[in-house]
Subunit: 276 residues, 2 copies
DNA sequence: AACTCGCGCTTGTCTGGACAGGTTCAACGC
DNA sequence: GCGTTGAACCTGTCCAGACAAGCGCGAGTT
């Protein structure tokens, strides 16, 4: 989490001493050693300042090497950044072309294998506590966000870190009873939703997660080893098919301090690389 | 600890011949030189063959250099490819982690104007409780995830629904003191990060959110109208520039039952939305 | 048992150099 | 005028080495 590089100045010193040469020919202003990130930022400022119009070609790599007093690799890295953000397009042999001066102001969070995060985060193991069939009645149906009266296969897991004793949390997983047969024996090396996809021929179209604070019920308190009433993170995950039907619902209960959910959103214009 | 890492048999040949000499000689020689694309392809085949499970660590760059007889740059380029395709996640200091063996299986959450959800979610209003300058000391620095000793402008908001009495939650917003001047008077119709972008010339590259459970301190309990110690949802949001510097940190505290965070992930393609 | 600290391992960033292969454009031949 | 060709220009790929910075684990402490 730390970002000690306040000015990134000590960075500069080291390299100055090390590789010297650098920028001796450059016009005076290129004194400061800058990294590819700063270089990218400087270029973006230039772009926003209107130095080039959309469709124009940016300076060649060689010119940027001169101007910033950095190596070609560094210049290329910054151009790669600009391309990833959607400002420019690159093509071998031709100079970079400015294609946008303000790439879509949207952020993207891309997740592979949802629920890895919820069920298998690498250094955790899950132990099945109970397997039962339930009918969603009033209160429970509301808690799950499903239709009252529907039938579900319920799986209770306790999640524990590989090293350490205190459990991370409890997971209740509800599988639509109509697909429970297809599930059969459960492969613990795959997520439930993946197995449903593979064996029941379902396709998850979207996943909805909601997160809120709650408290530990007496029943949960024992396996979680916390006091009843202590604060929990409640994570509900719904897996929804293209037909709009909820095929699986997961409820995760995580005591404070043991589990943290992290989401990273990245600004993206043209997610793709090079070529065209 | 280390994975014995199986398989990848035929690559041994190339390695045998050893590298260096490279294409200076005619293309007639025995084995092709492996490029980063082929290397990526080979790795994908290994992945699909099940040599590693999701969550496992791939070989280190050094090991791949050995195996393929290529330079580290080339190996890194191929790993970059795999990361872009969604097979692996990379983190400085730690080995690459396999996160998907079939990246068509990726879900995307895209959102315009993050932080709307933290500051202005349409049907809520924010009232500024306090504005102060603070220095992040030990404990607070850890809580914020910033460098100890750094200086910040702190803004305290109470968020209340348009209709209704009970407050939704408290927001502490910390703005890097170096950019606080640029902020000047705050336009309540825009998010803070947008104003920082426009007035301080910063570019937000990515946003990191972490969510966990916590408890209400006595100081929070009063304005939130809950009992001290009652469960809260703690949402931390970091706005990070392309230089990798944290320019704004937001801490949201939401009592149980009053606020729920919602995330919708959609499989490849279509846009989606987050929260409300 | 939980916490801190240090050290080794691993990835991130950067340098400087080389060749391959695509692009561009002007000179040339028809 | 028009298509071809070649050379200059430019980006793509690759190499070898170095230091910076983050991570993980074990040892020692509380």
């Amino acid at each position: 989490m730390q970002k000690p590089e306040i000015g990134s100045s000590e960075h500069a010193l080291v390299h100055e001493v090390d590789t010297c040469v650098r920028a001796t020919t450059a016009p005076g202003w290129a004194d400061r050693v800058i990294g590819y990130r700063e270089m990218a930022e400087a270029l973006i400022l230039d772009i926003k300042a209107g130095n080039w119009r959309i469709g124009d070609a940016l300076p060649t790599e060689a010119e940027l090497v001169q101007r910033f007093g950095a190596s070609r690799s560094t210049v290329r890295e910054s151009l790669r950044e600009l391309a990833a953000m959607g400002y420019i397009k690159r093509r071998q042999g031709a100079r970079s072309i400015l294609v946008a001066d303000d790439p879509t102001d949207s952020f993207v969070n891309s997740v592979q294998s949802i629920g890895e995060l919820l069920q298998y985060s690498g250094r955790t193991r899950s132990t099945l506590l109970a397997r039962s069939e339930v009918v969603a009645t009033g209160d429970m149906a509301r808690r799950l966000g499903v239709v009252a009266g529907s039938r579900w296969l319920r799986l209770d897991y306790l999640r524990t870190p590989m090293r350490g004793q205190l459990p991370l949390g409890l997971s209740e997983i509800y599988v639509d009873a109509r697909h429970a047969d297809a599930l059969g024996t459960i492969d613990d090396s795959l997520t439930i939703y993946r197995q449903l996809e593979q064996r029941a021929g379902l396709v998850v179209r979207r996943v909805e997660q909601s997160i809120e604070a709650s408290t530990a019920t007496p029943a949960m308190a024992a396996p979680l080893r916390v006091a009843p009433g202590s604060p929990l993170l409640l994570v509900r995950t719904e897996f929804i098919t293209s037909a709009g039907e909820v095929m699986e619902v997961g409820l995760g209960h995580f005591p404070a301090g043991r589990y943290r959910m992290e989401i990273m959103l990245q600004r993206s214009g043209g997610a793709s690389d090079i070529d065209g």
